[in-house]
Symmetry: C2
Subunit: 117 residues, 2 copies
DNA sequence: CTGTATCCCATTCGATACTG
DNA sequence: CAGTATCGAATGGGATACAG
């Protein structure tokens, strides 16, 4: 009595998966912040602030907090004088590396396309 | 008299490339819309409205317009009665396929991780 | 250095209604 | 069907100042 699986069911699953990703990654700055941590491995608050051009400390603080809650980023307080804070990708966050690399390559290709024509 | 290229220069380039990508792709719905067109190939306005759960017609209209301006999406008016409009990825838009697939796979893995622990 | 707090304007976005 | 128009609420986000 069961219907054969339809193509659309598969597509709906895929759409939901993409949206699950975007729930965590969307936001004007998240991908850029993750890129910074991806390329530099470990990075302090003020470093990321410099890496991500245009971001304010308020937004950086907020977005880092969300990434930490979603277990993509780990925050470590170093007891230097004055205190510094180090951010890095968790193991789970590191699984985004491929996506970041793809986005980097696509960004280069897109830039070339836009300025060539 | 020229300095050797430094690691940081390379990273800065990569960061800029990612940000170039995000200039075009960021926004609450863009990736989901592209996914719909990626998985279904050709899709009408009302279909995408159904695919992307939660989006309003206003936002869909606006985001599609931006994707069209950035040459990722092609819009075709079909002279049916009543008129229907078909959207599809351009050749350039199709180069996002890899990223969409990666985001799909990551979304599935992320979902499993969140609900397992 | 790493944030938080506040003020305030800009933008996003949903709901609803309406048009060709 | 495929949008546009308008309103109002929520969020985004910069500037500045301040705290641990």
């Amino acid at each position: 009595m069961s219907c054969p699986p339809r193509l659309n069911d598969q597509h709906r699953k895929e759409m939901r998966a993409v949206q699950d990703s975007m729930d965590v990654l969307s936001g004007k700055w998240k991908i850029s912040i993750i890129s910074s941590l991806c390329y530099y491995n470990q990075r302090r608050f003020s470093d990321i602030l410099a890496d991500v051009s245009g971001i304010s400390n308020k937004m950086l603080s907020k977005e880092l907090k969300e990434l930490e809650i979603n277990q993509l980023v780990r925050r470590t307080v170093l007891s230097t004088q004055p205190i510094t804070v180090q951010y890095e990708l968790t193991e789970h966050g590191l699984t985004l590396q491929t996506i970041i690399q793809n986005l980097t390559e696509w960004g280069i290709a897109h830039h070339q396309k836009i300025f060539k024509q």
